[in-house]
């Protein structure tokens, strides 16, 4: 089902079946170009498939934005070991709620994407790692998988192509860290989700010591369209080196929150005002989290920007996972920084000391600061502590906690100043009411 009205500004590639009657059924899928790309891929060599994905300029939709074709090319296809495709459906980045819709509304598109990826890297088994909270999607994907087996779109000799492939779901049980690909691998092996040292990279030594391709749900959902219509057509939708469309999850202080599929490179201000209908109650924009809680925030005057990976990187932020959170002028940035840090302190797996200790101390400091007991010297200290976490941990969780904090301290010093000298939070009563 859909949870918000679509916007006329959307360009629908991965969401094109959303809203069709029985959009999740195999019949609907087959009636709307479903599995055409798989048959086309069956007649292509793995090199040709990977080349097409490279041409598409598709970049990982989980957050890091790594070029997908390049990632596929790293898997040693000729290795005598079995190879695996693992779908990262552990969607947990605060602000992000898109993979859920892709699985709910179009599960067969994901299955087809997995099959094509499997063909490209010579894998014959795929696992969809779904966060435990999304139980209904585990049942839903299991039904879609069973339907695909029953009709010969999974299993042995799929549709007479000679290609064998099995797909399984695997449930997580509540851990943000397991969205990090090496921690996910430990988790799927039945262990605590602790990140692994890289190299070796998962492409070479991944799940069960075997070469493993890990991709986000949205990334794999883009594959059927890329193979069917050509990589060039997909690339043309976005900006150079940033192909295609992105699902943007608008949330926070915006009139029409929702998930919208927009071309990569769409202007952020247009996203807020034209797609999202602006801010409620005529409030002014204060800041935007461009792509999930780990991204450095943009101030209102930095928001006239193209939402692609490279432009945001130039602006010292990140496109991230597509979770775009809008903050109005009444938002206390100290409180916001505190809530982000509380999250990372809770989710730190404890493996690396800078992250485990850093997030816990920063949470305490921000908590104290927000309650009015902060000192002026705490302001630079919060920034310095955060910088000491950057790049000093096995996985990016420490960075994810540090980056938004550094940006908030640097861009909103006046919010910190306002809490000094025992002053209560000036924004205490300014929260937007809940919306019916």
């Amino acid at each position: 089902m859909l949870y918000n009205e679509p916007s006329p500004l959307e360009v629908k590639v991965v969401t094109k079946r959303f809203g069709l009657p029985n959009s999740a059924s195999l019949d609907t899928y087959l009636a709307t170009d479903g599995f055409k790309a798989f048959f086309k891929a069956a007649g292509m060599t793995p090199e040709q498939i990977i080349e097409e994905v490279k041409v598409s300029a598709l970049r990982g939709r989980g957050g890091a934005g790594f070029p997908t074709g390049l990632k596929w090319s790293f898997v040693p296809r000729t290795s005598p070991k079995p190879k695996y495709v693992i779908v990262n459906a552990d969607e947990s980045e605060p602000g992000t709620c898109k993979d859920r819709l892709l699985m709910e509304n179009d599960p067969h598109q994901l299955i087809e994407g997995i099959l094509i990826a499997g063909r490209a890297v010579d894998a014959h088994k795929g696992y969809i790692y779904i966060r435990g909270e999304y139980r209904y999607l585990i049942e839903h994907m299991d039904r879609a998988i069973a339907e695909a087996y029953a009709r010969g779109y999974l299993g042995k000799n799929i549709q007479g192509t000679g290609f064998d492939f099995d797909v399984y779901t695997h449930s997580g049980a509540g851990a943000y860290e397991c969205g990090e690909e090496t921690a996910l691998l430990d988790s799927i092996e039945g262990k605590r989700g602790i990140p692994r040292m890289k190299p070796p990279f998962p492409a070479v030594v991944g799940a069960w010591q075997s070469p493993t391709l890990l991709n986000n749900v949205e990334t794999l959902c883009a594959i059927p369209a890329i193979i069917r219509d050509g990589g060039a057509a997909f690339a043309a939708l976005g900006t150079p080196k940033n192909g295609g469309t992105r699902m943007i999850c608008l949330s926070g202080h915006v009139n029409k929150p929702g998930v919208y599929e927009l071309p990569v490179g769409f202007n952020l201000l247009r996203m807020i005002y034209e797609v999202g209908g602006g801010l409620p109650n005529g409030k002014k924009l204060k800041a935007v989290v461009p792509g999930g809680s780990s991204c450095p925030l943009l101030k209102a005057d930095e928001c006239d920007i193209a939402m692609d990976f490279d432009t945001l990187a130039k602006a010292k932020s990140m496109l991230g996972s597509g979770g775009t959170v809008i903050l109005n002028e009444d938002t206390c940035m100290v409180k916001f920084a505190l809530r982000i840090m509380k999250f990372y302190a809770h989710e730190s797996c404890g493996w690396c000391i800078p992250c485990r200790e850093g997030t816990a101390w920063l949470k305490k400091m921000l908590d104290r600061f927000h309650s009015g007991l902060g000192q002026k010297s705490d302001i630079p200290l919060i920034g310095e502590l955060s910088k000491n976490m950057l790049g000093r941990t096995f996985c990016p969780l420490g960075d994810a906690a540090a980056m938004p904090t550094i940006a908030i301290v640097e861009k909103f010093p006046e919010d910190f100043e306002a809490h000094l000298n025992g002053n209560p939070c000036p924004y205490a009563h300014a929260n937007e009411p809940a919306y019916a």
Partner: protein, 160 residues
Amino acid sequence: MTFSPELEARFAKLLESYPPGRTRSAVVPMLLYAQDEVGHISTELIEEVARRCKVAPLQVDEVVGYYSMLHRKPLGQHHVQVCTNISCLLRGGEELYEHASQALGVGNKEVTADGQFSLEEVECIGACSWAPAIQVNYDFHHFVTPEKLDRLIAELRKAQ
């Protein structure tokens, strides 16, 4: 331990889905599915899962402490999980959590005396664009207001 035939079928399918000799991979989902049926993770359940997955009980025990959805104590029949992460925070998630706490008369991770409800302040549940959001057991509720929450709690009470 004995489980329902449905759960046994699920376990059998789960153990078959991993490569040969990799039954340890079933530990986390098996714990979660079992918890849904028996209520919480007891020492007995840890030993049972260890036996089925062919690992030492300690290897199961250490996993229980890591994943936030695995609970060593029984939860309420209706586990109310209120998200207060950033997107929900901006839409009144904290006020909603406070309201839930008062309405149920329990604090974070506590269970009501009659065992019907438990409350938990949770991290992002992936419903950011429909905030504030809560989950009751596995059911999502979007755009929740204090009034909507009151109605929901009353309905769940009546359904007993």
